[in-house]
C-alpha cells in the first residue's frame, strides 16, 4: 500500500464527504422537492410538425386543461417563438412544450426553473406554476444564426 500523510487523509475524507454531501443535496432537491429536468417525451417529424391537424404545434398557443391549468405549445424557428406573447393569471400552472422546425434553439424563461434545449425532431417539456404578477422573458439561449439575439418572447402574468 502507499503511505498517505495524516493531513492528506483528513483532506481525502473531507473531499469525499463534501462531494457525497452535494450529491445527496441534489438528489433530495430532484426527487424530494421534484425540481425536475426535461426528460424523454416524444419525437416528431420536423418537416410536418407545424402543419395544422398533424400535431398540436400546428396551432401553437395555450390550451386550457382545467381552470388555472394550461398546456402551452410553442414553436421555435429562426428567429422567433410562436406565439411570441402569452398572457396568464397569477396561480396558473403551465406545462410548456417546445419543438423546432429548423435548427437547434434553447429556451430560458427568466425568473423560473424552465431551461431547455429545443431540438428539431424532439419535444422538450417542463411545468411551472406562476406565483407572482409580472413579466418574464422567454430567451433563445442557443446560437441559431445571424438573428439569434433577436429571438425572444414574453410571458405576462396578470394579478
Amino acid at each position: 500500500m502507499i503511505h498517505i500523510d495524516r493531513y492528506e487523509k483528513i483532506w481525502i475524507g473531507f473531499s469525499i464527504a463534501m462531494l457525497a454531501g452535494l450529491l445527496i443535496a441534489v438528489t433530495v432537491m430532484a426527487f424530494g422537492y421534484g425540481i425536475q429536468l426535461p426528460v424523454e417525451f416524444g419525437r416528431v417529424d420536423p418537416k410536418t410538425v407545424a402543419t395544422p391537424g398533424v400535431s398540436p404545434f400546428g396551432e401553437p398557443g395555450l390550451r386550457e386543461l382545467a381552470p388555472g391549468k394550461y398546456d402551452a405549445y410553442v414553436l421555435a424557428q429562426a428567429w422567433r417563438f410562436t406565439p411570441n406573447e402569452i398572457r396568464l393569471k397569477v396561480g396558473d400552472t403551465v406545462t410548456f412544450y417546445f419543438t423546432s422546425t429548423d435548427v437547434q434553439h434553447g429556451v430560458k424563461i427568466t425568473g423560473t426553473n424552465i431551461n431547455m434545449m429545443i431540438l428539431p425532431g424532439q419535444v422538450s417539456r417542463l411545468t411551472h406554476k406562476f406565483e407572482n404578477a409580472g413579466e418574464h422573458v422567454v430567451i433563445c439561449h442557443e446560437y441559431c444564426g445571424a438573428g439569434h439575439h433577436t429571438m425572444f418572447a414574453k410571458i405576462i402574468v396578470e394579478p
Binding site: I2, I4, D5, Y7, E8, W11, I12, S15, I16, L19, L22, L23, V26, T27, M29, A30, I35, Q36, L37, P38, V39, E40, F41, R43, D45, P46, K47, A78, D102, V103, Q104, G106, K108, T110, N113, I114, N115, M116, M117, L119, P120, G121, Q122, V123, S124, R125, V137, I139, C140, H141, E142, Y143, C144, G145, A146, G147, H148, H149, T150, F152
Partner: protein, 552 residues
C-alpha cells in the same frame, strides 16, 4: 552522456509556433466581444471589421472559440507532450517520421478548416451543433486535426514501448506517465466526435445523406466534449505536479497520489458527457443522474491535486527559509515569471472548479445552463488554469528551445498578474450576469431587444477585465517576440525542471500498470454510455435536413 533532442525540439517548436499564432488571432476577438456586450455603441467595433472580411460578431465568436479552445490547445499539447515525454524517459522518439506525419496532417486539417471560417462559410461556433450546416471542409479539416493528434500519440506510445523493453521493471517517470495517460484518454474520448464527423456531419454536408439526428449528434459530441477538458487540463497538471515543485525549490509531496490522480482521470473522464445535456429532451433522468454522480467522482482527483501541489509548494517555501503557518507563501519565488503565473492560474482554477461543480449539480444546472455563467466558468478553467499555465511554460521552454535568455522578465511577471486580475474581474462579472440577471451566453448582448440597464455595471466590469486581458496578451507576445529576435545567448543551457519525490522509492506496481486502468476505463464507458447509446441509435431518425439556406 547527454542525449540530443534536437529533432524533438524542432517538432515541438513547430507545434508551439502554430499554437501561439492561433492564440494571437483568437485572443483579439475576446475584447471585441466584451466591449460590444456593454451596449455602448462606440465600443462595438464589428462594423469596421467587415473591411477585413469579418462579417459578424458570430463569425468572430467562431474564430475565438475554434482558434483558442480547439487549435491553440491541441497544437500546444501535442507539442508539449512530445517535448516532455522524451526528456522524462531520456529517450528520443523511436519513429520520428510518425511525429512529422502527425504534424503535417494537423496543419493540412487546420488550413482546410480555417479557409471556410474566414470566408464566413462556417459560422457555427466551436460546438458546430447540427443542423446548422458549415462548409464540408470545416468538418473534414477539424477531423484531420484530431487524426493528426492521434498519430502524435502513437509516436509517443511507440517510444514508450521501446523504453519499456530497454528498462524492464523500472518505474515510468511521472512526467512521462502523465503525458501518456493524457494521450490515451484522448484516443478513447475522441471516438465520439469521430463518429459524429464520419457518419453524420461530413456525409451530410457533402449531400451524401439527406438528414441527421441532432440529439444523437449532440450525444456523440459530448462523449468527446467533456473529457476534452481533461485533455486540456492534464498537461497543466503535469507541470503543476512534475515541474512547479522544483521551481519552488521543493519536492513533490506525494508522488504515488499524483500517479493515482492521473489514473483516475483516465478511468472516470469519459462516461459523464450527459452532464452537458441535462436540459436536452430525449434522455431519461436516470442517465443524467448517473452522469452527475460520475462528474462528482471526477472532481475527486482534482481535490487530491489541490492538496498535493499546495503541500509541495509549502516544502519549497520552507526550504527557502519560510516559517510559520503562512510565512512560507511569501518565500516562494514570486519573482520568477513562470512560477508566479502558474501559481496564480491555480488560484483562479479553484474558483473555476467551484463554478463547474455548480454546473455539474444536476437540476441546479437549470439555473446556469447556457447563461453567461458558463463562459465565466470556462474562462477560469481552460482560459486561465490551462491557457495561463501554457503561456507560463513558454517562459522557460522558449529559452531552452532557442538558447536565448527570456527578454524582459519583468514584463513576463506583469503578464501573469494582469491575466490574473483581468480574468478575476471578467469572470466575476460574467458569473453575476448569468446567475442574477440570466443573461444568455453566445449572444450579441448589446443588441438584445430586452437589454436591461441594470446589467451595465457588471458588463462594464467584464469589459474592464477583458481590456486588462488584452494588455496581458500584448505583454506575452512582446516577451515572446523580444526573446526570439534577441541576439543574447544563454551562458548555461536551461534544463526541464523535474520535481523529485519527497519520499523516494517506487510507487506500488498497480500505479505503473496500464492494463487494469485501461480495462476499467473501457468498462466504465460501456456501462455509463452503452445502454443509452444503443437506445438512442436504435430510436434515431435521420430526418432533419437543416435549413435550406445559410442562417448567418
Amino acid at each position: 552522456m547527454t542525449l540530443s533532442f534536437a529533432r524533438e525540439n524542432r517538432i515541438a517548436s513547430w507545434h508551439f509556433i502554430i499554437a501561439f499564432v492561433a492564440l494571437a488571432i483568437g485572443l483579439l476577438f475576446g475584447p471585441l466581444q466584451v466591449w460590444e456586450h456593454t451596449g455602448i455603441k462606440e465600443l462595438n467595433f464589428y462594423p469596421y471589421l467587415r473591411a477585413i472580411g469579418i462579417q459578424s460578431y458570430y463569425q468572430g465568436l467562431t474564430l475565438h472559440g475554434v482558434l483558442n479552445a480547439l487549435v491553440f490547445t491541441t497544437f500546444f499539447i501535442t507539442g508539449f507532450l512530445t517535448f516532455a515525454t522524451v526528456r522524462s524517459l531520456q529517450k528520443p522518439l523511436t519513429i520520428p517520421a510518425l511525429s512529422w506525419a502527425a504534424l503535417i496532417i494537423m496543419v493540412v486539417g487546420l488550413l482546410m478548416a480555417a479557409v471556410p471560417i474566414l470566408l464566413n462559410q462556417a459560422t457555427v461556433l466551436f460546438t458546430f451543433y447540427p443542423p446548422l450546416k458549415a462548409n464540408p471542409f470545416f468538418y473534414i479539416g477539424l477531423t484531420l486535426v484530431v487524426v493528426g493528434s492521434w498519430v502524435t500519440g502513437w509516436s509517443l506510445f511507440a517510444t514508450y514501448l521501446a523504453w519499456r523493453k530497454e528498462n524492464p521493471g523500472v518505474q515510468t517517470p511521472l512526467i512521462a506517465l502523465g503525458s501518456l495517460i493524457t494521450m490515451a484518454l484522448w484516443q478513447l474520448c475522441t471516438l465520439g466526435v469521430a463518429v459524429e464527423m464520419l457518419t453524420m456531419l461530413i456525409p451530410w454536408s457533402l449531400g451524401l445523406i439527406p438528414g441527421l439526428d441532432p440529439l444523437l449528434a449532440r450525444t456523440f459530441f459530448w462523449f468527446t466534449g467533456h473529457p476534452l477538458v481533461y485533455f486540456w487540463l492534464l498537461p497543466a497538471y503535469i507541470s503543476w505536479y512534475g515541474m512547479v515543485p522544483k521551481m519552488a525549490g521543493g519536492k513533490l509531496f506525494s508522488e504515488p497520489l499524483a500517479r493515482l490522480a492521473f489514473w483516475l482521470f483516465l478511468l472516470i473522464s469519459t462516461p459523464l458527457g450527459f452532464h452537458h445535456q441535462y436540459v436536452d429532451p430525449g434522455i431519461p433522468a436516470i442517465w443524467k443522474y448517473i452522469h452527475a454522480g460520475l462528474t462528482f467522482a471526477v472532481f475527486f482527483p482534482s481535490m487530491l491535486t489541490a492538496f498535493n501541489v499546495m503541500a509541495s509548494l509549502e516544502i519549497g517555501g520552507r526550504a527557502r527559509g519560510g516559517t510559520g503557518l503562512f510565512g512560507w507563501i511569501f518565500r516562494l519565488p514570486w519573482n520568477e515569471p513562470s512560477f508566479a503565473a502558474q501559481t496564480l492560474a491555480m488560484i483562479i482554477f479553484a474558483f473555476g472548479g467551484i463554478s463547474g461543480l455548480t454546473n455539474a449539480s444536476y437540476n441546479l444546472n437549470l439555473v446556469t445552463h447556457n447563461t453567461m455563467w458558463v463562459p465565466g466558468h470556462f474562462h477560469m478553467t481552460v482560459g486561465t488554469a490551462v491557457a495561463l499555465t501554457f503561456m507560463a511554460l513558454m517562459y522557460w521552454m522558449l529559452p531552452m528551445l532557442t538558447g536565448k535568455p527570456l527578454r524582459w522578465p519583468k514584463l513576463a511577471l506583469a503578464q501573469g498578474w494582469t491575466w490574473f486580475i483581468g480574468m478575476a474581474l471578467m469572470a466575476n462579472g460574467m458569473h453575476i450576469l448569468g446567475l442574477r440577471y440570466e443573461l444568455p451566453r453566445r449572444s450579441l448582448i448589446g443588441a438584445l431587444p430586452y437589454f436591461n440597464p441594470e446589467w451595465t455595471p457588471f458588463l462594464i466590469e467584464s469589459a474592464i477585465g477583458g481590456t486588462i486581458l488584452l494588455i496581458s496578451s500584448i505583454l506575452f507576445f512582446t516577451v515572446m517576440i523580444g526573446t526570439l529576435v534577441s541576439k543574447e545567448r544563454l551562458a548555461t543551457a536551461v534544463e526541464m525542471p523535474v520535481a523529485e519525490a519527497y519520499e523516494p522509492g517506487p510507487a506500488p506496481k498497480w500505479l505503473d500498470s496500464w492494463r487494469p486502468w485501461l480495462a476499467g476505463a473501457l468498462a466504465l464507458v460501456v456501462v455509463g454510455y452503452g445502454p443509452m447509446m444503443v437506445q438512442l441509435i436504435a430510436q434515431s431518425q435521420w430526418n432533419v435536413p437543416g435549413p435550406a439556406g445559410r442562417l448567418w
